[in-house]
Amino acid sequence: MAASFLFSQVMGGLTTAMFLFLIASGLSLVFGIMRVINFAHGSFYMLGAYLAWQGVQWLHPTGAGFWLATLFAAVTVGVLGAIIERVFFRSLYGREELYQLLFTYALVLILGDAAKFLWGVEQLSVSTPPILSGGIEIFGTTQPLYTLFIIAIGPAIAIAGSLVLSRTGIGRLVRAAQMDREMLDALGANVGAIYTGMFVFASFLAGLSGALVTPIQSIVPGMDVLIIVQAFIVVVIGGMGSFWGTFWGSVIYGEVLSFGILIFPGFSLFSVFALMAVILIVRPWGLFGRPL
């Protein structure tokens, strides 16, 4: 196999990985801190994609308004997250997982149908923003600029996120809320507001990644369920609630998928599921997680 070919596979894997990271990090954060498994997280990603498309249509169908549309999509999904957390999730904290599962699954169905109602079932697509529409030569391959941008944004968010968690006052409060919610409340912190903030941030990231994926993938009904399954696999591999675990879990997932296609063509997803099965047997709490 030529080196340039391998390089292309690695880059393809990394692109998948960084999208997954943006989604799975929010999923993992919400679970790690609030102990709620949010199945509807993939629906937020889907809404981000549709809203970005809508924004582009309103602003400039040729694609010039892409960045503004992306911001609009991510912020709108964040606001939606705030409403959903304030109105519904409140009563789920500390309840049995079954209730959380049922509620968030209902949300998946409702949001999925709402998207079909609003945008139909046709494939929609968004063109690459002009500033990133070219490509550059690396190792004898042509890498689209947009792909490189996505590969850069993942680590940037990972580093920024972990610095905020470890070095800032907000980060310390968030970590304390994860360890002992009631004690932090008794010390005077409005833990409910911290939860809302975290949920909004996670929703914002999901909406952002949904918007950013549109130049690469077409927008179709069902993308919500497809992505949530993948995000769960990432989180299982990396370890629930571990920020860097999610990052490396995404990278492993992306690369295994990218190279799995070469080894088992037609069974590419098999390799990822096999990896997850092995990890669940050997290290059920994930590569970077801690035993519960």
Binding site: G169, R172, L173, R175, M179, E182, D185, L187, G188
Partner: protein, 235 residues
């Protein structure tokens, strides 16, 4: 003059099991009041009811005359009541300094207690400031949990069983520190099983039994009258 804290006839329960049967008590500014009684008589429940961690089924909790029963814990904390729980509840994965820092951020009450002031009261904590809370000894954790609550500059400190599980020498140090706090004008409501610890500090005591108040009076009375002490607190 209204008392700083007045509990009026509160009843409380955990689910179906009733724990408090009409507790009434008062704490005046500058006082150290002790709730004495065995394990399970309702001392912790009384404190949790004041703090908003448990909603009393009936009765009033008056803070400077306003009823705060049913308030959320952070609202109670910001109103000026600081809680030092029995099980200490240090944030185990945060360092000593981080534990103190978030407490100041959480309560948002500035006053005489800041990081330097609590390090001055507990010099050991300054040495341990970078150590994770989970790696402290029991005595060190107890100091940290008191220091952490002080960072919120409470006007009333609820101290739940501070001497529990500590070696006698550590208890001695703790007693001294608590006396120092009292001398500096911190109002304290203390819950204790240990008679020596509480009588050494308290101005007044309430003796609890099965969720009600069996006796109340000046601490000196119990200190001087061993027959009364034995009758009330025979363990």
């Amino acid at each position: 003059m209204t008392a700083l804290l007045a509990i009026e006839n509160i009843h409380a329960a955990y689910g179906l099991s009733r724990v408090l049967f009409g507790i009434s008590l008062e704490v005046e500014t500058g006082e150290c009041v002790c709730l004495l009684g065995r394990n399970g008589v309702g001392k912790t429940t009384t404190m949790r009811s004041v703090m908003g961690l448990l909603r009393p089924t009936s009765g009033r909790v008056l803070w400077k005359g306003a009823d705060i029963a049913g308030w959320s814990p952070h609202r109670v904390a910001r109103a000026g009541i600081g809680f030092v729980p029995e099980d200490r509840r240090i944030f185990a994965e945060l360092s000593v300094w981080e534990n103190l820092d978030i407490a100041a951020r959480a309560a948002r009450r500035r006053g005489r207690w800041d990081i330097d002031a609590v390090y001055e009261l507990f010099p050991a904590l300054r040495e341990l400031r970078n150590r994770q809370g989970g790696f402290l000894s029991g005595g060190e954790q107890q100091m940290l949990t008191i220091a952490r609550t002080l960072m919120g500059n409470p006007e009333l400190l609820l101290l739940d069983e501070p001497s529990e599980g500590l070696a006698p020498l550590v208890v001695e140090t703790l007693l001294e520190k608590t006396r120092e706090l009292k001398a500096q004008g911190v109002t304290i409501l203390l819950a204790e099983q240990g008679v020596d610890f509480s009588l050494a500090l308290a101005d007044r005591v309430y003796v609890l039994e099965k969720g009600s108040i069996r006796h109340s009076g000046p601490a000196a009375e119990l200190r001087n009258d061993s027959a009364l002490r034995d009758r009330l607190l025979a363990l």
